[in-house]
């Protein structure tokens, strides 16, 4: 039964991920006074891409064929760590916070390799920028996770979330700093607005788009899907820690609450994207250092 629920969580997670992206995009356009595509547009995009013919550069090595799948797999392994709407996760017996962060690192690594593999100038540029941002965001993410793991006396990632829920809202107020830091990190890792603009292909500034510029058809579909999953992973971490789910025996209620929660937590993303412009690339280290400061403040304030 536990395994069934685990698989069900994974399926729900992957199924909901494109809708969250669609929701953020739609909300952003609505707030600007435009109509915007419907929430199910990302699903349509993925199905459209799957039907198209795939073209791979003749200079591409086997990396170009395996990298998209490995990126997606790494993220799916991470999904298996975190409880979505129930405490029975597929990989609850293993995986501590460090593994969690480095599996993220693995997906970023293969993404960067893919960018460089096809020999286009933009790919290498995008990879270089992505690795810069990822390496600066990692210590912050680690600091946030260590805060939680010390607080709940466990380094097992699933166990942290379960203990958060069992402690029933009794969270220290210093977590507000951790939440803010986590927000910065998720914006950086998901290539969203202060760090990168996900909507444009402006050659001077693109980061994420530059890496997948050469991808087509099913490979592009996989990349798109993994970027949706990555975004939802961060939203799920934030929402599960700062707004713990109800532990009711009614599974349907849990699922509904989870979906409500992730849509609630994706609202700030669209509001921030609406209100500020993309930062200059050389300002990004400052921004990430500020998020590191926030993480350290959250950490120090609770353990001093």
């Amino acid at each position: 039964m536990d395994k069934v629920i685990g698989v069900l969580q994974l399926v729900l997670f992957v199924a909901v991920a494109p809708a969250v992206k669609g929701f953020i995009h739609k909300l952003k356009l609505n707030l600007r006074g435009r109509k915007g595509p419907s929430i199910i547009q990302p699903y349509k995009d993925i199905f459209k891409l799957l039907r198209k013919e795939s073209v791979i550069s003749k200079d591409a090595s086997f990396i170009s064929r395996i990298a998209p799948i490995l990126v997606l797999l790494a993220l799916i392994v991470n999904v298996c760590f975190i409880p979505v709407f129930s405490q029975h996760t597929l990989l609850s017996f293993t995986g501590d916070v460090i593994a969690f962060i480095y599996v993220f690192g693995l997906s970023t690594f293969f993404m960067a390799l893919y960018g460089m593999d096809q020999g286009s100038a933009f790919g290498g540029l995008g990879s270089a920028r992505e690795m810069t941002i990822a390496s600066l965001a990692e210590p912050t993410f680690m600091m946030i996770m260590f805060t939680f793991s010390l607080e709940y006396n466990t380094s097992n990632i699933s166990e942290i979330f379960i203990r958060v829920h069992n402690s029933s809202f009794n969270v220290p107020i210093a977590y507000v700093f951790s939440l803010l830091a986590l927000f910065f990190v998720s914006m950086a890792e998901n290539a969203r607005i202060p760090f990168d603009n996900p909507e444009t292909h402006l050659e001077l500034t693109m980061v994420h788009e530059a890496m997948i510029l050469e991808a087509s058809s099913k490979y592009l579909a996989i990349f798109e899907l993994s970027s949706y999953i990555k975004l939802l992973l961060f939203i799920s971490i934030a929402s599960n820690i700062f707004l713990p789910f109800l532990y009711s025996s009614n599974m349907l209620l849990n699922i509904l609450f989870y979906i409500l929660k992730i849509f609630l937590f994706s609202i700030p993303i669209s509001i921030v994207e609406l209100s500020i412009a993309k930062f200059r690339f050389f300002r990004i280290p400052d921004l990430l250092m500020i998020s590191f400061t926030l993480a350290v403040l959250g950490f120090v304030l609770y353990y001093a």
């Binding site: 107020i173 400052d286 250092m289």
Partner: protein, 222 residues
């Protein structure tokens, strides 16, 4: 579901927010942003002081909280803004130590002051909340000092001094339940006059050297 946020935790949070805004000042590239951050920092400080009233039941603190709000969050930022509008043509903050390093150094300052304060006699006699706020106050003082020597522009050095002063007030609130009223009013007056004097001095620096860059003060004039 019981929302278990106690008053002392909230006071701590506001004090830490004040510290965060102090650190944000070292990351600001422009003078107007630094002034805005100073406003928020003072606002967080005055909320901290106001909430400490309910912790200590010492009603003189209300007066200091209101004075902080009026003088530090409204009056001084406006004076500073006027000065920037009048004389500053180039709003950039010229750093001696660049912004990323500044923030990292501030992180170390925070860790150091929490470490240093964990061994004081307060850890025995006083409650842990006040010990944390004392550590935060010391961190704000250090960040203010750091801001004073890490930036070239005279105006941001003044902001650094005001930050330091905020730290001292916070430390006084946390350890001895605020200074005596007469001292407190004196300090506020001192700070306000100090800010105005610094403004006049900045006018003179600008007049004599055609720049607010303090590293040019040692240039020879004919």
């Amino acid at each position: 579901m019981n929302l278990n946020i106690s008053l002392s935790e909230f006071v701590e949070f506001m004090a830490a927010l004040s510290l965060f805004f102090a650190i944000l000042q070292t990351a600001s590239h422009r003078l107007d942003f630094a002034i805005k951050t100073y406003t928020f920092q003072s606002l967080a400080l005055s909320i901290t002081m106001f909430l400490s009233v309910f912790y200590y039941f010492d009603y003189e603190l209300i007066l200091s909280a209101v004075l902080t709000l009026l003088i530090k969050a409204i009056l001084i930022p406006n004076v500073m803004k006027k000065i920037t509008e009048k004389i500053v043509e180039d709003e950039s903050v010229k750093p001696f130590i660049n912004f990323t390093y500044s923030i990292l150094i501030c992180v170390f300052i925070v860790i150091f002051s929490f470490y240093a304060m964990s061994n004081t006699f307060y850890s025995v006699s006083s409650s842990s909340m006040m010990q944390k706020i004392l550590a935060i106050a010391v961190a704000i003082i250090f960040v203010g000092i750091f801001l004073m020597f890490a930036r070239k522009k005279a105006l941001i050095q003044v902001i650094g001094f005001l930050t330091l002063e905020n730290g001292i007030i916070l430390g006084a609130t946390s350890t001895v339940k605020g200074l005596p009223l007469i001292v407190e009013v004196g300090v506020f007056f001192d700070v306000f006059v100090g800010a105005i004097m610094a403004g006049i001095l900045i006018f003179h620096i600008k007049d004599t050297f055609d720049s607010l860059d303090t590293s040019k003060l040692s240039d020879l004039k004919e």
